[in-house]
């Protein structure tokens, strides 16, 4: 019976609102925009942070990445002095790699990589690639999957075999119609037998120049045994540019340290930094801790969401004030009706309920429409700006919940004002 009474109160509320359709619709509009913008804003924020987090996760959250960096210009000139064209030595060394493995607790694997940019040829196809000299456990550390054939093995390493593993993208481009496993590719002056094809979990970045996080993703990688890389390319890399030539000696371009678990990453971070500092007198490396980046990204996301959410919430608030304004006018307009209802036996709380229900119908109705538009709006944003948007269920719940709360909070005052009216005065009201 109570529920029946409630249903008829709601029906009555809807009826009363339908008496002034335009007014009710305009009042709802405030809430509609509010809810819609809460959902859309949070979806944009969520999408942006998702993209950032995915990029970081691809680096592997259990890993610590060390990269060789060309030292800053001034230091470079000091080091090389006046002797132009002299050879520049910097970067991570084999010793670093060994020390990392032996001194840092919690290290699972240390994966050294030499990354050399070179053209790879097969018949008439020639593609610019990264030729990466690395060790057999590369797939375990980076999460790359062997699609066909096999990855490098220890005996390849020991014998310095001229074998290589190529990425799926390169295989597609270099061997449009052949089976790569039956052929050899030519890198520089040497031929390498293709023994496997791998699918990278992440698109490996092009070796970044200025320590930027994002490079152009290039799926053109050739993996060869580390020892082969050392002997075939030598330790000194010569690059000719515009008449002069530069020679660099870089032993390792990258070391990926795989830690046992996440707590180990956190303790190892500082240890790696101090250790490297001791053995490098110039700043010729960078340390990337994906876990830390992930934490930062999460924090940024939180701030982003708070800012966007509050902007949207303010519009909800404005919508709520609009509702309150209209309801106060409605109460004045319907004073006579309130008097009649009181005379017919309505208690104060019946009147409160009646007007509260009307407000809540307005705000929840607006909330529902807002949710519907809120589902559409982010995809429109995505369509025009190519920003990724993700609608999370909680943002919909929050937006809808707030709209309901706005209805109750901003409805309480007009409703209680209506209930407080003296029935005699109200009946006399023209």
């Amino acid at each position: 019976m109570l529920t029946f009474q409630f249903i008829s109160t709601v029906r009555l509320g809807v009826k009363s609102l339908m008496l002034h359709k335009l007014r009710s619709a305009l009042t709802m509009l405030g809430i509609i925009f509010g809810v819609c913008s809460v959902i859309a804003m949070l979806a944009i924020g969520e999408g942006a942070s998702y993209e950032a987090q995915e990029a970081i996760k691809k680096l592997g959250s259990n890993n610590i990445l060390l990269r060789s960096l060309k030292p800053p210009e001034q230091a470079q000139q000091q080091a090389s002095g006046a002797a132009r064209g002299s050879q520049l030595k910097y970067g991570l060394t084999y010793e670093d790699s060994g020390r990392l493995l032996s001194t840092i607790p919690g290290v699972l694997r240390v994966l050294p990589m030499r990354i050399i940019r070179e053209n790879v040829r097969f018949q008439r196809n020639e593609i610019a690639c990264q030729v990466i000299g690395t060790l057999p456990f590369y797939p375990e550390v980076t999460g790359a999957a062997v699609v066909s054939g096999r990855f490098l093995a220890y005996f390849d390493e020991e014998r310095q075999e001229n074998v290589c593993v190529i990425t799926t993208g390169l295989a597609r481009r270099l061997f449009p119609s052949q089976n790569p496993l039956e052929h050899t590719v030519k890198v520089d002056a040497f031929y390498y037998r293709v023994i496997g094809i791998v699918q990278e979990r992440s698109q490996p970045e092009q070796r970044s120049q200025a320590g930027k996080m994002e490079g152009q993703p290039l799926d053109n990688n050739v993996y060869i045994p580390l020892n082969t890389s050392r002997t075939r390319f030598g330790e000194v890399l010569i690059r000719r540019s515009a008449g002069s030539f530069e020679a660099e000696e870089v032993q390792l371009h990258q070391i990926t340290v795989q830690m046992r678990d996440l707590p180990a990453v956190e303790t190892a971070d500082a240890q790696v930094r101090t250790m490297l500092k001791r053995f490098h007198d110039q700043n010729d490396y960078e340390i990337i801790v994906p876990l830390e980046l992930l934490r930062q990204a999460e924090q940024t996301k939180r701030r982003f969401n708070i800012v966007l959410g509050s902007i949207a919430a303010i519009s909800l608030l404005v919508g709520g004030i609009g509702i309150m304004n209209i309801m106060l006018a409605t109460v004045t307009e319907r004073t006579r009706e309130i008097g009649v209802r009181r005379a017919l036996g309505a208690k104060r709380r019946d009147i409160t309920m009646q007007f509260l229900v009307e407000t809540v119908v307005l705000s929840v109705g607006g909330g529902l429409i807002g949710v519907m538009i809120g589902f559409v709006a982010p995809s429109i944003v995505t369509h025009f700006t190519h920003m990724m948007t993700i609608i999370t269920p909680w943002s919909v719940l929050v937006a809808f919940g707030i709209s309901g709360a706005v209805g109750i909070i901003f409805g309480l005052y007009p409703a209680s004002a209506a209930a407080k009216l003296d029935p005699i005065e109200a009946l006399r009201h023209e």
Binding site: M1, L2, F4, Q5, S8, L12, K15, S16, M18, L19, R336, E337, G339, V340, R341, R342, A343, L344, G345, A346, K347, R348, R349, D350, P423, I424, L427
Partner: protein, 243 residues
């Protein structure tokens, strides 16, 4: 009803309005009144006589400043607001000068409103409401809105509404004030018929002809009952002849 209690019993009822400052207004100065079941009472008096105040107290819209008011044997003089609202809905049927139907509701829904505030399931009372609509001659206009009805029809809806909770008495405040004399007579006719069937009627008017239908007329003056006329020449069924 046990031992024939009076429907209305006023004992020294006073009503004082505090107007801020020291000048209070004593609108009723100790009224004693008793109205038995099945009576037809008319209250007359010039404006300022306390007529409206008496009506508000009778209708439980207000509480006396002093004195006692027994409505159907129950002391309602100092009831808290919620109980008073409840008693009002259950024991009193209101008929107003300007009909006071609720604009957004249809005829049948208007009739049902008082049921709602008694917490009754209106579905169970659907037949009852239909009978009342028939009684006032609006059985064919159940789903019309008030603005689609004439004044007389609206007032008849209001009468049906006043009856829906089977109240102890009908309180009519100038029920014909907004009607032309012909429809006014029809409405009064209807009210007389209700009285004939046993309903207690209290009617406030300043029109002698309207009051003449009542069995008993009290004249208010300066917050007191000035004089009382017992007027019972009209026997049942002859009400129409005393125009």
């Amino acid at each position: 009803m046990s031992a024939e209690p009076a429907i209305i019993r006023f004992e020294g009822v006073e009503k004082r309005y505090v107007l801020g400052g020291e000048a209070d207004v004593l609108a009723l100065r100790g009224v004693d009144l008793e109205v038995g079941a099945g009576s037809y009472l008319a209250i007359m008096g010039p404006s300022g006589s306390g007529k409206s105040t008496l009506l508000n107290l009778l209708g439980c819209l207000d509480r006396p400043s002093a004195g006692l008011y027994f409505l159907g044997g129950e002391d309602v003089s100092q009831m808290p607001d919620d109980m008073l609202s409840e008693a009002r809905g259950r024991k009193i049927g209101f008929i107003f000068q300007s009909y006071n139907l609720i604009a957004q509701l249809t005829v049948i829904e208007n009739i049902q409103v008082p049921l709602l505030y008694q917490g009754k399931d209106i579905r169970a009372y659907r037949d009852h409401c239909l009978q009342l609509a028939e009684l006032v001659g609006l059985g064919d206009r159940l789903h019309h809105r008030p603005n689609q009805l004439s004044g007389g029809q609206q007032q008849r809806v209001a009468i049906a509404r006043s009856l829906v909770n089977d109240p102890l008495m009908i309180l009519a405040d100038e029920p014909t004030g907004n009607l032309d004399s012909k429809t006014g007579q029809e409405v009064l006719e209807l009210i007389s018929r209700l009285n004939d069937s046993g309903k207690t009627i209290v009617l406030v008017t300043h029109d002698d002809r309207v009051a003449s239908r009542a069995h008993r007329i009290i004249h208010m003056k300066d917050g007191l009952i000035d004089r009382e006329v017992v007027n019972r020449p009209v026997s049942v069924g002859q009400a129409g002849s005393t125009k």
